[in-house]
Subunit: 377 residues, 4 copies
């Protein structure tokens, strides 16, 4: 099965690392370190191979992919040797990238997006195309009556004003084109009743939200540890220093608030209560792609004795996210092929803010993911 991976924000750090890594895997130059679907427990013939992924995407920026890859090499995110070795392959993907279509109404823009998706699928003879949003985080969306149902949404999109935020307009176009949609960001994406209705009507699955790559990944194993040991977490405070492309954006009050809620959700749902403290995001350009997250957890043990855990995570966001993008493309493509539609709540393992009322403990999410992949075979 050959599957397309259509990246929204295709010239960004995450997308570029995903593309470079996918090409390197196809060429046999690297091991699939960090790819969850390379774990023995998730091996399944139902998934398209890494080598069967074909990349394309939209972006509003114009920096060539090869140039972006060189910058990532300078920043230590990817090896310079790979960029040099895969120059031709990067140029080939370059030809699959498209600017964001214009239009007088959002319906017209969506039509342009759909045309690009369909043309990509047909030209390459792909079984299907998975659309993955790795664009910048949007602020929270204002409610709009047209979000409530598909008919009213369709009508409203023909009107003059913006009805959907960009991430949702992409989901709309993907679903209309029969493409699964994965939201790797905290943006709204498919989380509107009208879009859920559309996904079911077109029988396409979708997944999200907000790739779990660092601090929240740790929370999803540490919070269950405290819960299983019946230790009382008194406070959990953290700060994220990041300097990469999305850093300036996330440090904006609007996006920051959206992200912070997503980050703390795991605590309340795992512990059964919300400890004191919050998570801050600060933009420090010098930090670059290597995010530093520091957390302090204070907790009480037996007879109320106070104790502390402190950790520092120094991770490269793009290098943590990119393999998961490939994993999600493989699994979502297989789910589509297997006839699954609607929200894929079994993919909570990948997300900070997963769809559905799911367990936030990583081990439970892993169990659900293994069962899901096994069921696709």
């Amino acid at each position: 099965m050959r599957a397309g991976v259509w990246l929204i924000g295709a010239r960004g750090s995450v997308a570029s690392t995903s593309i470079l890594g996918g090409l390197a895997l196809r060429a046999g130059l690297v091991e699939p370190t960090g790819c969850v679907t390379a774990h023995p427990d998730l091996c399944s013939p139902a998934l398209p191979g890494f080598a069967d992924l074909v990349f394309g995407g939209h972006d509003v920026v114009i920096m060539p992919l090869a140039k972006k890859a060189e910058l990532l090499a300078v920043a230590g995110v990817v090896p310079g040797g790979l960029v040099a070795a895969l120059g031709d392959e990067l140029d080939a993907v370059e030809r699959e990238l498209r600017p964001v279509p214009g239009g007088g109404t959002q319906a017209e823009v969506a039509a342009g997006l759909m045309a690009d998706l369909v043309e990509f699928r047909e030209r390459h003879g792909l079984d299907r195309v998975v659309v993955v949003n790795v664009a910048s985080t949007e602020p929270g969306v204002d409610p709009h009556p047209a979000h409530a149902g598909l008919d009213v949404l369709t009508a409203a999109l023909d009107g003059p004003g913006p009805v959907l935020p960009p991430s949702s307009l992409y989901a709309y176009a993907a679903f209309r084109a029969g493409c699964p949609y994965v939201d790797f960001t905290p943006s709204t994406g498919a989380r509107l009743p009208a879009l859920a209705e559309l996904a079911e009507a077109r029988r396409v699955p979708y997944a999200g939200h907000d790739g779990k790559t660092g601090e929240t990944l740790l929370k999803s194993v540490l919070a269950p540890m405290f819960a299983m040991r019946n230790l009382a977490v008194r406070s959990w405070s953290g700060i994220n220093l990041l300097g990469g492309g999305d850093g300036a954006n996330l440090a904006e009050p609007g996006a920051n608030a959206a992200k912070s809620v997503s980050k703390q959700r795991v605590l309340g749902e795992t512990l059964g209560y919300v400890p004191q403290g919050s998570t801050r995001i600060e933009f420090v350009p010098d930090i670059g792609d290597f995010k530093t997250a520091w957390d302090l957890v204070t907790f009480s043990g037996f007879l109320g004795t106070g104790m502390r855990l402190e950790f520092t995570w120094h991770g490269c966001d793009s290098a943590l996210a990119a393999p998961l993008v490939l994993d999600l493309a493989r699994i979502t493509a297989a789910a589509h092929a297997a006839g699954r539609s609607g929200p894929l709540t079994e993919l909570a393992f990948f997300f900070k803010d997963p769809l559905g009322d799911v367990d936030h403990a990583l081990s439970r999410q892993w169990d659900a993911l293994r069962a899901f992949v096994a069921g696709l075979g």
Copy 2:
């Protein structure tokens, strides 16, 4: 069901905190924070209640329990108010503590230990007595032919020289007296073929080894996280600074080596390979009971990008261990009542170096524990 808890090392920090906490729970003065058996998933009428535990024990030291409790309060391990409020109850337990019996041969010493256990059980009309070893860590034991079988062991114990290390002699006496045995230390305890034979012959269960209270607890959730994410752990190095009673002992090369092996075992068995690095134990008296463990993990992500996790655990060992001692007494008593004998491999959740060929991921151990407790009801 009333159950006895007979503590080897009954005047030490862990035992004293266990006793004080057990008394405080019985008096309704505290919540069972840190007690795993108070977690809703482990509630079972098959377990004796916290209030049904009766304490006794052996120790070679003579400091009164009330004095030890006061010292623990000064050190911030337990609240001073509890010590004051439970003076009479502590004095009552004081009367249940016994010096270690003497004797010309180890058989004679064992007979004295058994007599103390039986007398305690009968005097209080207890259904059973669980023996828990919380004495100082022993160095590794030298092999001896008498360890291989019960007959040869029984004969050898009548001889002049020492055949068993103290922790194993206690296990021998416990089993002979029909008492389950739990080893909360890394010492040899019941881990000898002759003692396994004896436990089966007397139909008593046993559990161990080495309570999982700090750094290894973290490893048991963090190592599976790296494994599930298919991230390659390159090195895992750590240092433990501790100043409490067992600190000087553990920093001795012999005991240190035993403990370090126990601490690193989780990594190899969870990851499937052994990363670089080791764990050091240093004795720093000023640190007192509040152990500080620092670990650095270096790992590779996608395309080989290097990243790091660092954590500092500042935990009070006695306050972390004591509730688990109560948990183990409750569960092991119930297992005995349910007719279980031999090694309780389902209790791996509690131990750094669990009996049997078991999963080292905490979430798997939790599943096994829940199923075990549910099966006792």
Copy 3:
């Protein structure tokens, strides 16, 4: 020489710890750990002895000093034994504390403050009284024409509206009463032209601002280290988690901003450039008086190689501040006795945001302090 120490905010944590410590030193129960004036280099017969300090103060709250001391003992800030041993002495100081006088105009309030100061000085036959502000941090003050000169200020204070913030009204009253004034907070205090004029007119010295007790203390030795080694600091980011009395106040945007500026000033003035990053203050009640500050410094070495320093400071603010309050009282009293008036820029060693255009490197401030104290003898 007997000197009074009149504390603004006399029932707060810092003041109570200062009083308890001063009484304990007088009783010979403790060593002067943390007292800079007990360092051999600062010994001088010109300073009043610790035992010669007499305490009094104003506060708007009414919790008895002995009760506050007990709460500090429970929180681990001071030893419970000291509180018990010094009950009579605390009660004696209790009788020296006064509510803040009321009045229709600020002139009337100031008259009440002065009356309290003079009455205290005369009743105890004190050579002088040093007023030390350890009250809560105020937001920045709005400019007012009456701040520009003493005449216009004096006239304006008779008017209906508030002209001076509380910290400055205390400074006004102190100066009018012939008392030196020390501001241990970041509040405005004596930093107004009209008050500088008054201090010179009355020949009294003053000092401030904002006691340097934790993260900034570290910055004042680490930033010079980077400067001396000619290493390029790229970013310096930090977060302060604190839960004590002033924490909720400092986390307010207004006070937070004032404090953050004071905290970053040392970097720009020591390094000669301002690195990226900022300092956050978060209120986490569970942390209590033991503030946790975490800082990340990224820097470039030879040939641009990037490196990092991370530190966590876990300090008890009141226990760090209180001995400095005693030091400042001793030194300022001696300066007054020696005829010094106006801003004591030589005391920069004690402050985050020192008066005057002074060196921010701690070692330079130490040299200045030693010379100053030696010159008083």
Copy 4:
């Protein structure tokens, strides 16, 4: 003034980085970040310029300098672009490197070393050549009667057995050839009475020992901070994880012990007492050149309240050491030109274990260094 820099261990990481950096400075490709002599306070026309340094050296290994530089670039220690840009210059230095001369006696080896030094100096018409030892750390030296005086040493070197450790034999040869000698390692070097006698006889200066590049640099500012604040340091424990060339060597018990003593010396001499704790060195190859040092300091404040400071230093040893090597060459050459001979105790700023009975506080060492450099002009 043109000065030679003759590096013992010339193909190692520190030497290679020094050479590459020296060439890059001469070519105007980089700023002198990390070079202390580029600090405005140390500018002096008495020092040879960076561009006036000419490199040569001895090594037992044979890997070409250009190859070593490439490996350093891959490891992130130096920028790959510099290595590419300076290929010709590196090849030119390559031709100045010599294998270690052989010989039947140490006198013969020393004669070969001297011949290389003299030939280098004369061929380049250099005013002088500073010999800098950056070879691997030696274990401590066994006492030998011939160390006591120059005459007996000279005689003994003609004998069959080894009398001097390598670092001292290099110092002997340097002094005999009229060259100043700097020991950047903790090895014995010039620290023998016979060599001190020789240095004075030949009127050459020398400096050492053990470049202060990381954890000890921090100690030299933090320990004085605690001292000035009169805070009681209770324990200071640390661990150094390092994977670079000297790591395996330093983790050997002999060298480790030598290094640890050197690292703790600053504490005792600055604080006036030795706190609990020690410093461990662990070899973790994956860490590479980027050493990670973690330290925990526990201290008491006012009334005995316990507090903690923790820091992690993540520094590239070669990138921290190399600019200091250039600084030491410049300053030592100027000192020789100014007629200085014997131990240069004023250079303590650069060393963990400085010569002479000097202050260990970094700010005092800086004052001494500034005065020294100013006095050379």
